[in-house]
Point group: C2
Chain length 205, copies 2
DNA sequence: CCTTGAACCGACCCACAAGTCGGTTTGTTT
DNA sequence: AAACAAACCGACTTGTGGGTCGGTTCAAGG
């Protein structure tokens, strides 16, 4: 089974470096050779493991992007606490580049969604599905929060989830270049302001 | 001067159709021939009027996109009324496809911003500049609203402007396919909710 | 050793799209 | 109507990048 291990290791290296470069330069603006040169691998090696560039990226979505979105944005929602601070905390984490100078995974979703929209049905469908799962989890957490008395009864939980997702995705277009601390701070502050307006009892801003 | 008129008319046709197709399929995913065939024009005609595809798109940005954004999002802010309803109205307009089944100009900004980011410094710079002008105008209107007693004194106007822009841009990623009436409605409702929390006096939701 | 097959190499093929250029049409001027 | 230039044509050049394929390396089993 040593063979299988080698295969998995090479595929893993390809996916990791691929996500890094696709994210930095865009999928359609990155050639396979860009990635292969970085890893000192050949076309032949690539097509031995993946059947096409698309197949390769789908692997990346399923193995890396899905995992990260779940870890950063969805799993934290599995809580019994007051939803609003939990959501804020998860978004703050997602917008920060990871501790060990990883990528800022929060940035990827809007980028790739826009890039694949109307160009690749398969991939954009999978990305939309990720957003969809996120939305469903947000809604159900918000509804639980309403029952638990943390959120005002008049609130439209679906609407709130939509609004949270929209503002989060949109931050990407504003945070393009430098990881602008100022903008992130403003965003989180205003999100708190908004959350105050849907909380069951008013809390100091 | 009949020549000049002919020239201007052809350039105008090219820009109009170009924006339509670039917006529908993306700039890098659209070949010049895609556009030229639609207009029954040739490569020669194109390069007689524009020096490159990039030059062509910059023309489109300056002549069409800037105009539309100003008309829909910036000029309406030049008012002495309560800023909050004015802003809501402008966003509602921008997200609607025009009356005479035009394009939904509100969708273009996020799409093109994302597409050109890190691929074309020149163009993405111009698009960011549009956003910047919008932000400046939003901030100054909000500040005036504060002086006029429409907006609470504790409010961070820059932060509010950032948040408005982020949520607006982000809606694009959610409204991708069909012009989903439901999502638009949710967005506007939540924006009103948010605005209630920064208004000087509470108004019914 | 020798065989076998997975992992890998890299020259090549092919489609596509930006940009070129010599030539043709069209309209205006005198 | 001759002359001139702007507008336009379309075959061609050139570069790029996804994908192919015959061959080589290497590790494991006999």
């Amino acid at each position: 089974m040593e063979m299988t291990l080698k295969r998995r290791e090479t595929m893993h290296r390809l996916c990791g470096k691929g996500l890094e470069i696709f994210h930095a330069k865009g999928y359609y603006n990155t050639s396979l050779d860009d990635i292969l040169n970085e890893l000192s691998l050949s076309k032949g090696a690539f097509y031995h493991h993946f059947k096409s560039k698309e197949d390769y990226f789908i692997n990346i979505v399923q193995n890396l992007i899905v995992q990260k979105v779940y870890a950063l944005l969805i799993e934290p929602l599995n809580t019994n606490e007051n939803p609003l601070p939990v959501i804020i905390e998860s978004l703050k984490n997602a917008l920060d580049p990871g501790k060990k100078n990883e990528m800022a995974y929060g940035f990827m979703l809007n980028d790739f969604l826009t890039e694949f929209n109307k160009r690749n049905e398969e991939i954009s469908g999978q990305l939309k599905e990720i957003i969809n799962v996120w939305e469903v989890n947000l809604v159900s957490l918000l509804k639980k929060g309403k029952l638990d008395g943390h959120i005002a009864r008049h609130v439209d939980c679906e609407g709130v989830a939509t609004y949270i997702i929209a503002s989060y995705l949109g931050m990407r277009s504003l945070l393009m270049d430098s990881s602008n601390k100022q903008l992130k701070y403003q965003y989180i502050q205003q999100l708190k302001q908004y959350f105050n307006s849907i909380a069951a009892h008013h809390v100091a801003a």
